[in-house]
């Protein structure tokens, strides 16, 4: 019975298939043209030497040599991979910790004051990344920065600290700025996850004598695990491609302490105009990003299909 109505509405199955095609084709046409051609072209370019500064040399085929120098000669790239992974691990854990803390604190009561506080905590997320960089650069300034002033007034540090030019402080400073901007994202997603949990379980647990800490470990955490996984996917992929903040705060310095893969790749293109080499690097970055992304998606897959 259902299939008869179905055919009346949608016509014959074959026409049905072409209708879908007509709906989806424009969007995926554009995606395939822009992304498909880009990926294919950058793979092709990665096997060539192409210097924009010397156009007369043209594009010459060099085989795998770009990849060889990337893997065995370019120490900046190796440092950048290490820094990026360190940064990703650092900020994702920071943001998960504080995001979860804020979400738990805010889900404690549902009233007007927590709703207002939620908006306050969301504000950093709405600020343009470049502007976040400028704000923190201003506040972390070694001579005029207000952060040094506050820390000195409180007696935490004796003399002004050069946050962004000190080799052991530059990376943590960028991490703090990044955590300031993106913790609200984690908080918001987790808060939505926590709010969706049924209250009866908690009441049952309380009647059975479970402490708040125990009900957090044994009820909240397992139940919001799917949300945590999705949040981790988005934050990991975002942190991995970090560019704006590094560009505004340190430009990869001092030395190569805060150089990230996107930053280094940009420099090779914009400062040295080595298109072939930059493409090889971007292919490597793509491979790393895809590995991380597909690992996550394989873990998450069961949930999405449900």
């Amino acid at each position: 019975m259902k299939s008869v109505i179905f055919q009346q509405i949608y016509g014959k199955p074959r026409r049905h298939r072409w209708t879908i095609f007509a709906f989806v084709a424009p969007a995926f046409g554009i995606l395939i043209v822009i992304f498909g051609i880009s990926f294919a072209f950058s793979i092709w370019l990665s096997f060539h030497r192409f210097l924009l500064t010397r156009p007369k040399l043209g594009i010459t085929f060099v085989g795998l040599s770009n990849y060889f120098s990337l893997l065995w000669q370019d120490q900046v790239f190796q440092a950048a991979v290490k820094n990026t992974l360190l940064f990703t691990l650092g900020v994702v854990s920071l943001e998960l910790f504080f995001g979860l803390l804020l979400a738990l604190l805010l889900s404690f009561r549902t009233n007007r004051s927590t709703a207002a506080l939620r908006i306050v905590f969301l504000l950093p997320l709405m600020i343009t990344p470049v502007v976040v960089g400028l704000i923190w650069r201003y506040m972390l300034h070694s001579e005029l920065g207000v952060i040094n002033y506050i820390l000195m007034t409180l007696g935490i540090v004796k003399s002004p600290v050069a946050w962004l030019t000190n080799s052991s402080l530059a990376m943590p400073s960028i991490m703090v700025a990044d955590a300031w901007k993106y913790t609200p994202f984690v908080m918001l997603c987790l808060l939505a996850g926590i709010k969706a949990l049924p209250q009866e379980i908690y009441e049952a647990a309380r009647i059975d004598g479970a402490s708040p800490w125990k009900s957090f470990i044994h009820i909240t955490l397992p139940l919001i695990q799917p949300t945590i996984k999705v949040v981790l996917l988005f934050r990991t992929m975002d942190a991995f491609r970090i560019f704006d903040l590094v560009f505004m705060l340190t430009r990869g310095g001092p030395g190569t302490i805060t150089e990230t893969v996107s930053m280094h790749n940009y420099e090779v293109l914009a400062n040295y105009f080595r298109v072939g080499y930059a493409s090889a690097m971007s292919v490597m970055i793509l491979a790393m990003a895809l590995t991380i992304c597909l690992t996550y998606i394989l873990i998450l897959r069961t949930k999405w299909e449900a």
Partner: protein
């Protein structure tokens, strides 16, 4: 606070104290920029820093729109204008094409459905540097570098996956029965879309459009690579306040306000849809 008025709830008090403390820390950078934007140049350079200006001034805001050569500054209006033109054109096209695809995904089920959606998701979260290098070469060959068109095309492609996802999810919430009832009554598919689905999907379209526009408003890396001097978007204009001679802190903090206030207003207006929008949307870099 009804609970605590009866007998003081120590635990609730503690939670509120911790929340208030954290909120102060989170708000401080923004507050500092607001205060700085009303300070004179001299007060920006003082140590210890001045908290609240003794002579609050609007001079930093005036400098942003002052085109006369008397004051050395960087006008912000060309950046705003470029970003709005690029943002509106690319958002308009993205929302139309993305909604059509979203409708297809939600109303017709076919085998590749899920795979295509996951493909779109993956494209959305990959590092943009992979795409920007080949696009730079292509646009250079076509003579399109440093034009609005190249950014419109690039942003169009980057926003499409998000719009497709948002609209698919949104159309899924509009019952299919409505379509089918109208189709049985003899309405054509096009008429069903125009008369039933489209009016119902206005909130979804608004969310998709706002977040696509915010992506264009915030985007930095692609604008940095694909444009040089003729077309400067807002984030690139912001960078200019750090000149060779000095950082123009006053103008910079005023410009910061210009950049973030519209975003905050936009997002507060569509607060209800924040989770969906922020997961895939444009508020990130």
């Amino acid at each position: 606070m009804k609970e605590s008025s009866v007998n003081f709830d120590f635990k609730a008090g503690l939670v509120y104290v911790v929340l208030a403390l954290l909120a102060t820390i989170v708000l401080f950078p923004l507050l500092w920029m607001v205060l700085s934007s009303f300070k004179h140049q001299v007060e920006q350079q003082l140590w210890p820093p001045v908290w609240i200006s003794s002579h609050p001034t609007l001079v930093n805001y005036i400098k942003l729109v002052d085109l006369s050569a008397a004051t050395y500054s960087i006008p912000i209006l060309p950046g705003v204008l470029n970003t709005i033109i690029i943002g509106f054109s690319s958002t308009g096209i993205t929302v139309i094409i993305g909604s059509i695809a979203g409708y297809g995904f939600s109303r017709y089920k076919f085998r590749a459905n899920g795979y295509l959606l996951i493909l779109a998701l993956i494209l959305r979260i990959l590092p943009p540097i992979n795409v920007v290098i080949p696009l730079y070469v292509v646009f250079r060959a076509l003579g399109l570098l440093d034009t609005r068109l190249c950014l419109i095309i690039t942003y169009l492609a980057f926003n499409l996956p998000f719009v497709i996802w948002t609209m698919t999810i949104f159309f899924n919430t509009i019952p299919k029965d409505l379509d089918e009832a109208a189709l049985i009554d003899g309405c054509s598919r096009v008429k069903v879309i125009m008369k039933i689905t489209l009016p119902l999907s206005v909130p979804g379209v608004v969310v998709a459009a706002v977040f696509s526009f915010l992506f264009c408003w915030n985007e930095f890396l692609m604008a940095l690579v694909l444009t040089q001097s003729k077309v400067k978007t807002l984030p690139l204009t912001m960078m200019l306040y750090r000149t060779d001679r000095a950082i123009l802190w006053g103008e910079m903090s005023a410009a910061t306000m210009v950049v973030i206030v519209p975003v905050i207003i936009f997002v507060l207006v569509i607060q209800k849809y924040l989770v969906a929008g922020l997961t895939l949307g444009g508020v990130k870099g």
